[in-house]
């Protein structure tokens, strides 16, 4: 049976068919849907971990117990999971362990576009790279087999176009002849003290050499001989673009990008007149081919920045002189069209973060921001974010900044972090802030969900990925246990209360935490978010002062007829009745529908 699946759905399916028993992840675009699909297979125990490091450790535990385990994350998540990954490379596995890294060239939803192929080489583990959904399924299954055969974790690298693209996949049954998991005691392999690790390291080197040799015979590394004047080494999404743009060229399609199959590359290079590498981001393959003493080019023609597309590849091939410079169909001229205003993402109508950022802006706070929907607090008109680096960084950075500025400036520093991000890697930062007595203020925006990636549960939401009720972390108790003396909870829909609380804590020369307590408006679980009656504008009272526009709510529109004063209008289909705009109106022009 064939189905149209996204790369993420196909990876979940591949894990299911491969007999995977445990799947664990921290959500992150473009990887999130793998676990959201894995949970539909009742044979797989699927869970969200608080962060990627814990997710990998859960996977390692399951693998040591002899079960096949899948761990997934976005590219930057591997930075967090790198510590266990590098030593897992030495211990190897009992049950197969597959680590998916979903990279994001072009940074469609990320803060950087690091090329995680380097991680495979750095940690000395094999990496497979599928080029469509059928390969996502097949390579996931193969990754489990290679993991057990070579006693190594295997990384599966996708990119956004592969993760979110859909193509056709043939489905099969789940394997049923895998050994039963249990306690496996093997200290020499599983206890990485120096003495044991010294024995393991040579095995790692040997394994990688063997994989490079065996790679020549792997079906996923495939020479496709066509016109031999041009030979192109490529992998992943780039393979599809090469086939689209230069269908007659010979290709060496690499399914395994680490280690590279040296012998096969030499053979392919010898059978073509001119050798090119087409790869996104870094010259990962190209540099290694050059190091083999083979004449090859690549990054002279394609950028190290951003993703490749068919049209970017046409330009590259024209530059390389392997195809004519003018494409057949020029885009239709759009010159008569007017300039189109941009459409950036925005906080939803009724978002509980809006009032906090409005207040921070009013108080001229220096906001040490973090990663989540609330990073949009950066956008005008809220314009209340000064830094944002990585998950959980807001608090540590606020501490560091406080060490180098004047007492007066210290009062302005506020770290803002969401519930899920705080639990991910913010707790350590807060512990340090208390430990080292930095006087900054921390605001935890607790909206009861991991919102940005599409509403996943987390340790504070009270439910597991599999839908079971569970403990919900109590933030005030947690912060007090870390030693914060001043912890308070505010209703972010009450502007005066929010502003006053932030103002008071900013002026306190000690660490303090403010927690907001309203849920994300998109949470669908019953009884969590309650929509109130929509508000409307009394146009007779509206004094055209535009104060209500300053919160940047998508439900509020400025309507101005020719030659008249503008008035605010509230779209009742978008308004959640959150009441923020009413509190801003000095003329009492905003109220409930009559």
């Amino acid at each position: 049976m064939k189905e149209l699946l996204s790369g993420n759905e196909a990876i979940a399916r591949g894990a299911f068919e491969a007999g995977c028993r445990v799947a664990c992840a921290y959500p992150g675009t473009p990887s999130t849907e793998i676990l959201e699909n894995a949970v539909n297979y009742k044979e797989i125990n699927s869970s969200w971990a608080p962060n990627e490091k814990v997710a990998l450790e859960v996977g390692i535990g399951a693998s040591f117990g002899g079960a096949r385990a899948l761990v997934t994350m976005k590219h930057v998540g591997v930075n967090v999971a790198a510590d266990p990954l590098f030593t897992l490379s030495y211990t190897g596995v009992n049950g197969g362990l597959v680590l998916v890294t979903a990279d994001d060239p072009e940074m469609h939803s990320s803060q950087d576009e690091q090329d995680n192929r380097h991680y495979a080489r750095f940690a000395k583990v094999p990496m497979l790279e599928p080029s469509d959904s059928a390969e996502c399924k097949l390579f996931t299954q193969l990754a489990f087999e290679l993991s057990e055969k070579y006693d190594t974790p295997v990384m599966l690298r996708t990119t956004t176009r592969i993760s979110h693209g859909k193509s056709m996949v043939e489905l099969a049954e789940r394997v049923s002849d895998l050994p039963q998991p249990g306690l496996i005691r093997n200290a020499a392999k599983q206890v990485m003290l120096p003495g044991n690790a010294r024995v393991r390291h040579p095995l790692v080197e040997q394994r990688m050499l063997q994989l490079s040799v065996d790679g020549a015979a792997m079906e996923i590394n495939r020479q496709e001989m066509r016109d031999t004047r041009i030979g192109i080494i490529t992998s992943g999404a780039c393979y599809q673009y090469v086939r689209e743009v230069l269908p007659e060229a010979s290709t060496l399609k690499l399914g395994m990008v680490n280690p590279l199959p040296d012998g096969l590359i030499r053979q392919f290079a010898a059978s073509v007149d001119r050798l090119l590498v087409v790869e996104e981001l870094d010259p990962f393959i190209e540099e290694q081919v050059k190091a083999m003493g083979i004449a090859v080019s690549g990054k002279e023609y394609t950028s190290r920045c951003g993703e490749l597309t068919p049209e970017r590849l046409v330009k590259a091939f024209s530059l390389a002189g392997v195809m004519p410079s003018a494409p057949d169909s020029a885009p239709v001229s759009t010159s008569p069209l007017p300039k189109l205003p941009p459409r950036p993402p925005n906080m939803c109508p009724g978002c509980p973060h809006r009032g906090v950022f409005y207040s921070l802006n009013q108080l001229k706070a220096y906001v040490s921001g973090d990663i989540g929907c609330y990073t949009l607090g950066f956008m005008p008109p809220l314009s209340a974010m000064d830094t944002c680096v990585c998950m959980g960084a807001s608090i540590g950075m606020a501490t560091g900044l406080s060490k180098v500025i004047s007492l007066e400036e210290q009062k302005q520093v506020v770290a803002v972090i969401g519930d899920s991000t705080f639990l991910h890697t913010g707790i350590n930062g807060l512990m340090d802030m208390v430990f080292n007595q930095a006087p900054a203020t921390v605001i935890i925006l607790d909206n009861r969900i991991t919102a940005m990636t599409g509403r996943q549960d987390n340790p504070a939401s009270g439910f597991t990925l599999m839908g079971d009720p569970t403990n919900a972390v109590n933030f005030p108790d947690l912060c007090r246990a870390l030693g914060v003396k001043h912890v308070r909870t505010v209703n972010p829909y009450n502007l005066e209360e929010t502003r006053a609380a932030i103002h008071e804590e900013m002026n306190r020369p000690e660490p303090s935490v403010i927690i907001t307590n309203k849920p994300c408006v998109l949470v669908k679980r019953e009884g969590v978010f309650q929509r109130a009656e929509a508000l409307c504008v009394d146009t007779d009272r509206c004094a055209s002062c535009r104060a209500c526009l300053r919160i940047g709510c998508p439900a509020i529109e400025w309507r101005q007829a020719e030659g008249e004063k503008g008035k605010a209008y509230i779209d009742p289909s978008l308004c959640t009745g959150c009441d923020l705009c009413r509190q801003l109106c000095k003329f009492d022009a905003i109220g409930r529908q009559k």
Partner: protein
Amino acid sequence: MKDRITNVLLVGVGGQGILLASEILSETAMLAGYEVKKSEIHGMSQRGGSVVSHVRFGKQVFSPIVPEGEGDILFGFELMETCRCLPLLRQGAVVIANNLRILPPAVLMGQEKYPENLDVHMQSLFPEFTLIDCQKVAEESGNIRTANIVMLGAVSRRLDIAESFWLKAVEKMVPSKAVEVNLKAFLKGRSL
């Protein structure tokens, strides 16, 4: 069956049901025996940003992205977003636009104007331009939330795939409780 690849673009604003419409289109093409690939970016776009979905089908398809200047059919769920995608189209492409304006932040704030007469511009560039009011048709068929399916119906008439495949795909992909209203919306759209 045609050998040539058909390149379809679906564009609009996050939350308009574009992804579902592109899923149904892809499913239909697969049922009709074509190889199908589909690509879109979601993530930040869910927060009211632009959404573009690419669907390509034919005997054999490599790239999931429609190459610039090769789009055959554009269906736009929002006027300005429809315009934004015109550079992806070939000469003489079919453009179907929903007569709906969703105001971006700068326009809501009164800092910029929503461009006027976009339909006239599009008509002048693409003779095969059709403007339809999906919301109105959806309301008439019983549920305004089926506007995306009305649009899909309108597009279906311009693609060479038998009606039975479309109906089968709609039935499979929409929530089971809403099959009837969606089929009705689809057929209404198909008559436009």
